[in-house]
C-alpha cells in the first residue's frame, strides 16, 4: 500500500514535497547555531550576575541585547521556512 502510494506521487507533488522538506531543514539547521549561542550567552550572564549581584541590572540589559542579535539568525531561518512553505 505504501509503495503503491509512493508510485502515485506526481510531478507537482514532488515539488511541494521538496519544498516542505527543505523548509523544515531551513529552520532546523538555522536554529542550531543561535541555540548554542543563546545558551552560552545566558549561562555566562547568570554567572556574572551570581559573582557580582550589584552589576545585575547592567548585565541584564547587555544580555537582552546579545540575545536579540543572536536570535535574529534563527528568525531569519524561520522567515526562509515561511517563504519556502507558503510563498
Amino acid at each position: 500500500m505504501a509503495l503503491h502510494l509512493l508510485a502515485e506521487i506526481s510531478g507537482a507533488d514532488q515539488i511541494s514535497f521538496g519544498e516542505a522538506i527543505s523548509a523544515g531543514f531551513a529552520y532546523g539547521l538555522g536554529a542550531i547555531g543561535p541555540g548554542i549561542g543563546i545558551g552560552y550567552l545566558v549561562g555566562q550572564a547568570v554567572q556574572a550576575m551570581a559573582r557580582q549581584p550589584e552589576a545585575a541590572g547592567m548585565v541584564r540589559t547587555t544580555m537582552f541585547l546579545g540575545i536579540a542579535f543572536t536570535e535574529a539568525l534563527a528568525l531569519i531561518g524561520f522567515v526562509v521556512f515561511v517563504l519556502l512553505k507558503f510563498a
Partner: protein, 257 residues
C-alpha cells in the same frame, strides 16, 4: 498536508484579512489597520488621562504611566545613551507602547492577530528609526565625520580597510533596519502560527471520534501555556525593539571609542 485528515489553515488564511471598507482604493482599511489605529489611540488615552490629572500621589492609570516613563528613563535611556539621550524619551515611550499594543492583540480575544505580524508595520517603524539615527549622527557629528566614524572602525590595520569598509557599510546601513524589522515580525508571526496550530488541533480533536477527546487535555493545556508565553514575548519584543533603537541612536550620538 493532511495529518489524520486534519486540515491546517494556510498562511494566507491566518494573516490576511478582508478590507472593512475602501476596497480597491489606497484607503483600504482592514483588521490590521484597525489594530494599528487602536494601538495609537489607546497610547494617547493612557498618557492623556494620566497627565491631565497630575495628582501628587499617583493612582490607577497615572501610576502605570509614571512607572512606564521611569522604566524607559532608567531601564533604557540611562543604560544605553546616558543623560544626553533624554530628549528621545517621547519617541521611545511612544514606540514602546505602540509596539506593545500591536503585539498584545495577539492574545486579546476577538482580535487575536498581532498587527506586527504583517511586515509593513515593523518595517515602517524600523525605517523611522533608521532615519532618526542617521539624522542624529549627521547633526551631532557632521556628515563626513559620521560617515568616517561609522565606516572606519579605529584600531584596524590600514590594509584591512578594503575588507572592513564594505562590511561595516552593509551591517550599519542595510542590515540594521532589516534585522530590526525581521526580529519583531518573525517573533510575532511564529507566535501567531503556534497559537493557531494548537487552537485548530484542540477544536479538531474535540469534534473528532470519542477516543481522541482525552488528548484535548494536553493540547488545551499547551494552548493556555503558550498564551502565557506569548504575553511574555509581547513585552520582551517591545522592550528589545525600543532598546535597540536607543542603542543605535546612542551609537551615532557619540563615536565609538
Amino acid at each position: 498536508m493532511h495529518l489524520l485528515a486534519l486540515n491546517f489553515p494556510g498562511i494566507d488564511h491566518i494573516v490576511r484579512f478582508e478590507p472593512i471598507f475602501g476596497k480597491g482604493s489606497i484607503f483600504e482599511f482592514n483588521k490590521v489597520a484597525l489594530i494599528c489605529v487602536l494601538a495609537t489611540v489607546s497610547t494617547l488615552i493612557i498618557f492623556w488621562t494620566a497627565s491631565s490629572r497630575g495628582a501628587l500621589v499617583p493612582r490607577g492609570i497615572q501610576n502605570i504611566a509614571e512607572s512606564a516613563v521611569e522604566f524607559i528613563q532608567d531601564g533604557i535611556i540611562m543604560q544605553t545613551m546616558g543623560s544626553e539621550g533624554m530628549s528621545f524619551l517621547p519617541y521611545l515611550l511612544a514606540l514602546f507602547f505602540f509596539v506593545l499594543f500591536c503585539n498584545l492583540t495577539e492574545i486579546i480575544p476577538f482580535f487575536q492577530m498581532p498587527a506586527s505580524a504583517r511586515m509593513a508595520v515593523p518595517m515602517t517603524l524600523a525605517i523611522l528609526t533608521w532615519i532618526i539615527f542617521n539624522a542624529v549622527g549627521v547633526i551631532k557629528q557632521g556628515g563626513l565625520t559620521y560617515l568616517k566614524n561609522s565606516l572606519f572602525p579605529p584600531g584596524v590595520p590600514p590594509a584591512l580597510y578594503i575588507l572592513v569598509v564594505p562590511i561595516e557599510f552593509i551591517s550599519t546601513f542595510l542590515v540594521r533596519p532589516f534585522s530590526l524589522a525581521v526580529r519583531l515580525f518573525a517573533n510575532m508571526l511564529a507566535g501567531h502560527i503556534l497559537l493557531v496550530t494548537f487552537a485548530v488541533l484542540s477544536s479538531a480533536l474535540l469534534e473528532g471520534v470519542i477516543y481522541f477527546k482525552p488528548i484535548v487535555l494536553l493540547t488545551g493545556l499547551a494552548l493556555v501555556a503558550f498564551t502565557g508565553f506569548e504575553l511574555l514575548v509581547a513585552f520582551l519584543q517591545a522592550y528589545i525593539f525600543t532598546i535597540l533603537t536607543a542603542v543605535y541612536i546612542g551609537g551615532s550620538m557619540h563615536p565609538e571609542h
